[in-house]
Symmetry: D2
Subunit: 340 residues, 4 copies
């Protein structure tokens, strides 16, 4: 059985494992004070063209989102997100658990529109009783979104402009950042993100690492962020595990190369489905492809190919997701072609 | 420079890395639903002689403590701990961050006494205004303690008896459990713990893993513990990373063997200090040795041997900690001997 | 200037003040252990025809909602509410501050539909990843709603049926309960509520008291609710203040009488607006009347009559709220008639 | 039966009730925007000789403490208090419920010593792993303390000096402030407090009000304190109830006069016990007197006089508390004299 269910079905990129082996007995201090983490930070700053950025390495996505959001907000503030945003739906209420509301705006294929954001903020501050409500405290978007869609550079700039107008920090959740940046449809660079965001993450878990999300604060982190990371249970004793992985991923552009490979195969996958007459649920340009499958098609794949079912349409077809990753091989796509 | 500063200076036991490599491309579901985690759970249940135990694998110690405590307690309850307990001092207020007070009792070389616990509980319930105070909701102890000391089986039984009397769950934080169980001074087994506790942890990070704490609930976990683990940001997407490590650690008794090796070297270390005329701060039987060093002695080690300084006595001597681990070698202890 | 801005513009019903004076020097224990509170509890139980109900007296509405919701839910659960629900909008995130998400459903003139609730719950549990989301833990509705609308008995029974199906407690926020029960459009009684709810509140602040909300748990309160009330800062030292007020309000049906008076005047107010050719924003049968006012009409009222502006329609008319209360007099309605 | 159990056994000072009656039908906006609250604020600022102070009126003591502390602290900070401090013991964990640890120092008859505070802070910042611990974020003391003792002006200045040294705000809980300021042993004025504190409270509940604590921020309140008060469930819809009470209490020095009366009677009470040969548990100069009673003495008072029992000494005598209040009469003290 071949699995396209998600982009975290396998372990880590071989170069990461190789480096873990090579460095295994090198004695290093804990909690991110090791030489590997220092090196990873430098490489990430360089890749972002942002030498003064503060960089922290955390373990998982929900952990990172709730830690960043809780530490960026004051008690009276919430995070503004699209109603399909990961923090609004699939994080078991981790943000609310820290005491903060997620304020939702309409989703347009997973994206938040600058106009919707501006209208919401204008309406909020025009309300005579706004100080009885939760203050918008930061804007959260995902890049790519949960639907595999991408913000264009001008869309990001438009959101940034609204944020500037209302003095709101902009947080980009890049759990699948590599797959976004390497998409043929993407006109945004890592440097653009560093220039436009107050904080963003570079997802490792889904792009070749065993675990790990890099949090980048281009203009500086909240005071005592280290202690709050610990308070959130997000501080790894052997920080080297994260340091080594990001150090390898940001050496010789590995992060981008392996994302590129996954994107190439995702585009092949899309072409394959289209050429075989399948309808796409939406036209995705990243590593997640959404395909409508009839019950017959699903039966054909049964026991041979795994994928995720998101929903069922009234006509009986399933909305399915096929994800490629750094570990997907051309052979796996070929095998799928034969089965279809 | 040789470092004895702590037991998380190196990577992972070679057998763990070997297994990570071997299984790297095996496709497995995420979030702990993988075959490795299933196998690790079975092995841990067997080692505990507790076939019905529920076992969860989390990433770090503070994370595990705050998640377990928050999910075991009702809002009106707090956790009772020795005032030196890790949760009371060195976790950046992670337990309080979840809304619960840590209620402290006197520490006797890091241990809580059953008599103190009973007296506290009796006094609490005798107080006419006890319902204006935080209810004791569980008892937290560390094994070994933060001072490297151990509860005897009868001490644990005595604590259990008080817990039974007051219907309080007993939680044993085993961040260094292996080093406790393998100590020559220990008369407690893993099976004893499973029989005496409502929940305990088996620390991986400090006993050969890159990361990971196994949480064992002999009598069942809180409802929807999985979801609350996610809510605490403690659910790893690639749960296989934890599954593989604990599967290896509990194959052929590796966990106990590597702990034994560290204990043997710690005993050599202790003998070494004593034979050279150094005074021990306390007589520890685990992998952490506490030695009093004069400024002259410290100067002799300067630049050659690293260790942790805990405090300074009025006579100018430092209370220092030398820790061995699964990675410590006889050669390192020999090198220290030559320098002393 | 006459104010119809809200139903808490004045002090308390004269009988309450009279009783405060009469009992002022009677020495009573604090924290709700006084004789007045005991009597109020008995009277409320009787009015509810629910002799085993547990009754607590708290001070304010947001306080009551967040305390009740936090103590009814487990950490992994949220409260389901209409998107216009008070807890979802106008409580400054008080529920989220306790760690719980408010899960919103569509509002139909302020009401939640049983069908929407059932569809949401069915969809939730059908989702393969539902344990990565917030569990619905209770259903919150307001009676009357924030829009002055009322659930019919059959609508409440339908919601109860869904709650039963999914084992969810039903919480009715009765901040303006009296005005709902006394509405000519209401076919629900206090006894019905006690039979249908797991917990509901009887609002005092807006129905003649200086402050105070009675929380009624027909089938028993959460364990140690008293202590959690204290933990939420909601326990009044001089509980007598609340006890006396509810004791008076539930003596000789005062609560219902004064609500009836306000409803009668609200119906006059509605008739007045309609007869003068004003359009209603919606047809409300409770003490809050929503009227569309042109800028000219607003100018006519300027400086003479106060009311609340909720929104502005594209045609320039304002959605306004005129509220009557126990303290509204026929003379005030007459005065308004002359100005219109 | 006469009760000396506490200072909140009765209702409110007659002048407060009178004013509630007089103003009852005056229409005023809610949430503290009423004219009475505005007037009370002005009077309190004048009494404090601090025209720029921000003043908020909340309902109860625990509520006020947890709201003030949570809004003054950042997530990584805790409140430093004497181990006998009200927030550390008798508030059901309300501070921890907001996510913050209470860091305790030794109590000296209920007081925190500046030297202890300085030593703690120096030790904290000297600890190499201090950023794994909870940062001290403010200093909380009670005036008078829970034991009825008072800080002298020089003691307060010494605490302030340490606070300045470490840039920590100083919070004085004045739940019984009047009884402290009017004590013959007190050399501190309200103006001194305003000059020395970053925030302090003026307790109304125990000094003549039905409920209410005034929170005074001499140098300004945290941003959006109003919204956070609402979030904590501490915002009263009919803020007039608090406004009227504090307006009356700070008209013609009523607050101080009624405190003086209680103090005079407390001193008589103390003299009475001493003259009858009873031993004091401690020499209190405020409205709470702590007396050691033998079982025989207690039997004599049985059914005639109520008081609070705090503890029992090994010799069988009870540590008891007799409190006077604004409502205590000379006749009540005389009656006690006859029974003794």
């Amino acid at each position: 059985m071949i699995s396209f269910t998600c982009d975290y079905n396998e372990g880590a990129h071989p170069l990461i494992l190789k480096r873990l082996l090579e460095t295994n007995l090198q004695q290093e201090p804990g909690y991110g004070h090791d030489a590997f983490t220092a090196s990873a930070r430098t490489r990430i700053r360089e890749a972002c063209a942002c030498p003064s950025a503060e960089v922290f390495l955390l373990t998982g996505g929900t952990q990172t989102n709730s830690t960043v959001i809780a530490t960026m907000l004051r008690d009276y503030q919430g995070a503004v997100a699209a109603e399909t945003g990961h923090i609004a739906v699939h994080e078991a209420g981790a943000v609310e658990y820290t005491g903060h509301k997620v304020l939702t705006l309409p989703s347009h294929d997973g994206k938040m529109r600058a106009d919707d954001l501006r209208a919401y903020l204008a309406h909020y501050y025009a309300d005579g009783s706004y100080d009885h409500m939760v203050f918008p405290g930061l804007v959260y978007i995902s890049f790519p979104t949960e639907y595999g869609t991408l913000y264009s550079l001008s869309e990001l700039q438009a959101l940034r402009a609204v944020c500037d107008e209302y003095k709101l920090p902009l947080f980009v959740d890049g759990a699948r950042l590599g797959y976004g940046l390497m998409s043929p449809a993407c006109d945004v660079t890592l440097q653009d993100l560093a220039a436009l965001c107050d904080v963003f993450t570079i997802g490792g878990t889904k792009v070749g690492a065993l675990c790990g999300e890099a949090v980048v604060f281009p203009h500086g982190a909240p005071d005592h962020f280290f202690t709050m990371v610990k308070q959130h249970g997000a501080l790894l004793a052997k920080g080297r595990l994260l340091g080594i992985q990001f150090d390898v991923l940001f050496t010789d552009g590995l992060y981008f190369k392996i994302a590129q490979g996954a994107i190439d195969l995702a585009m092949q996958l899309k072409d394959l489905f289209v050429s075989k007459g399948y309808e796409l649920f939406m036209d995705s340009h990243t590593n997640q492809q959404f395909v409508l499958l009839t019950p017959e098609a699903m039966q054909r794949l049964e026991g041979k190919v795994a994928y995720e079912v998101w929903d069922t349409l009234p006509d009986g077809r399933a909305v399915t997701r096929f994800a490629t990753s750094w570990a997907t091989t051309p052979e796996q796509v070929d095998a799928l072609a034969h089965i279809l």
